[in-house]
Amino acid sequence: MSATITIAAMQPLPVRRGGLVIAAAAVFLVAALLASLAIGPVYIAPGRVVGTLIDALAGARPSEGTGMRDAVVVLDIRLPRTVLAMLVGGGLAVAGAVLQGVFRNPLADPGLVGVSPGAALAAVLWIIFGSAAAGYLPGSVAAFGLPLAAFAGGLVTTVLLYRIATREGRTSVAMLLFAGIALGAMAAAGTGLAVFVASDQQLREFTFWTLGSLGGASWQKIAAAAPFILLLIVGSRWLARGLDALALGEAEAFHVGVNTELLKRVAIVLVAAGVGASVAVSGVIGFIGLVVPHLLRLSAGPSHARLLVGCALLGGALLIASDIVARTIVSPAELPLGVVTAILGTPYFLYLVQRNRAVLGG
């Protein structure tokens, strides 16, 4: 029998309390939600925040004075931003967990392996050429043009990535990362190419795509992205057993009754939908898809039924928390969100690479 040193399974783990971890993630999410609504450059007493929310639920909204300003800050800025952070964070974490399950590899982060850059390139192309195309499309399609384009870009990259990195159901870690780097570079090259035909105004918006931000959160954006992200979060639930079985290997998953071809296709489409929509509304935000699933596998175990729920909760909570940092630390200015998640995530990624030195051939 060949050496069976498995990735991320090199140390015995303490007894897991999966249910407890999920509950803790839910509590963290609720706490982050409340903190995000209460904290910001504008000081609003927590009681007033709650009051403003309750008034809004009752349909009342002050139209002048500090009441109006508080309503604007809480309802128009913080609330959509928080909701979008929860959706995008949860979506990216679930996408990371699903990708890692399909590739049987804990290093597959949508940003790292090129899925997000691919979606971003498609989004940039849509911004440049899409406005011309939108005239010929039905209104409903045009409204979702940006997330749909990003979805298509994410789909193409994910399929390419799978084709390149996987041979006979086995994914090589090195090939996955190399292919990811290559696809990321190709997407960057495409964006560079787009620069030549873009106007200066469009050009300025490109930093948004590479560094990520939730600064422009609005209910329209949430409405455009939520269906895709929820499709991923809810749909991934039915992938849980198949992804568990896939951990044994592709042939073995088939042996226990999993339709692996269908599973992989559905997984890739769901990931592309979720990541594409996330990129379309918030740019490329890295490392959430890497850090969250890994933390949960350590604490709650790798079983996907629990893992995916945990990812939706903890991913949302972690991105909300990162966004609080991004918008308060240099107040009244604001850091790009991608910078915050990269500062949090890069050391973690290096630590993971270090632990997988043997597998990576270092």
Partner: protein, 257 residues
């Protein structure tokens, strides 16, 4: 009835298997023997539906294997591959539970898992992380998974690829006994085995493969002869017999000069 007929399997024009017949019946153990590269594992993969033969066909319950849905197939046959690397830190009990189909209620599945782990002498290993076990322990965990799958199905066949490759003697015997028990309870078993003696001991029927062709088939006492050993391995050995069946002693075997 679970039968392969005139199986041919080519990779880039080279035949790995050529015209192989194989029939599994409930209550019987069939063992495939042969030298390295004879096509034994490929034959098992084709029987499992994991690979598709380039010629011939496999019928299960009178339906071509390619027409089966993976989930239905999983209820009729369970497969133990040679070695399995599990990514992510799954617990032993979680790995074993993957054998149970979704139709089995959760509490019942848990009972099957602990029964299977006891059967392979790993009763207390449920909460251990699979990746931390030794090679032999991992193999027994996988065997337990296969048992759970067989038990959750209906008269399922077992397809075992070298089920005792890295086991000590007592656990080798344990696994063979479990296979025999399965056959006695009405299931069919196919095993690929390296060890001729074990094969002769456990199998009701032996199939000898060389270079992708079936060169002998039948009850062990008919198949295992000095001539076959010479044809299969190019080794001169003299076959002896005990009441349980034929055997060879490696001490008596000689490579040709």
């Amino acid at each position: 009835m679970y039968a392969a007929r005139a199986i041919r399997y080519e990779v880039r024009g080279r035949a790995i298997l050529d015209g192989v017949d194989l029939r599994l019946t409930p209550g019987k153990i069939v063992a495939v023997v042969g030298p390295n590269g004879a096509g034994k594992s490929t034959l098992l993969k084709i029987m499992a539906g994991e690979r598709r033969a380039t010629g011939g066909n496999v019928l299960l319950d009178d339906r071509d294997l390619t027409e089966w849905k993976p989930a239905d197939l999983a209820r009729r046959r369970a497969v133990l591959p040679q070695s399995i690397e599990v990514v992510f830190p799954f617990l032993v009990s979680e790995v074993v539970a993957l054998g149970s189909s979704q139709r089995v209620p959760r509490s019942e599945a848990a009972a099957l898992v602990s029964r299977a782990l006891s059967a392979v002498d790993l009763a207390d290993f449920g909460r251990r992380v699979y990746g931390t076990l030794s090679g032999g322990e991992q193999q027994r965990v996988q065997f337990a998974r296969v048992l759970v799958q067989a038990w959750s199905g209906e008269g399922a066949y077992l397809l075992l690829d070298e089920p005792n490759a890295s086991l000590d003697l007592s656990h080798q015997l344990l696994i063979l006994r479990l296979a025999r028990t399965h056959a006695e309870s009405g299931g069919g078993v196919l095993m690929v085995l390296h060890d001729l003696n074990l094969a002769a001991m456990v199998a009701d029927e032996l199939i000898a493969l060389k270079d992708g062709c079936r060169i002998a088939a039948g009850p062990p006492e008919h198949v295992i002869t000095d001539q076959l050993i010479a044809a299969l391995y190019g080794v001169h050995a003299s076959v002896r017999g005990v009441p349980d069946g034929p055997f060879i002693l490696p001490q008596t075997a000689r490579l040709p000069a």
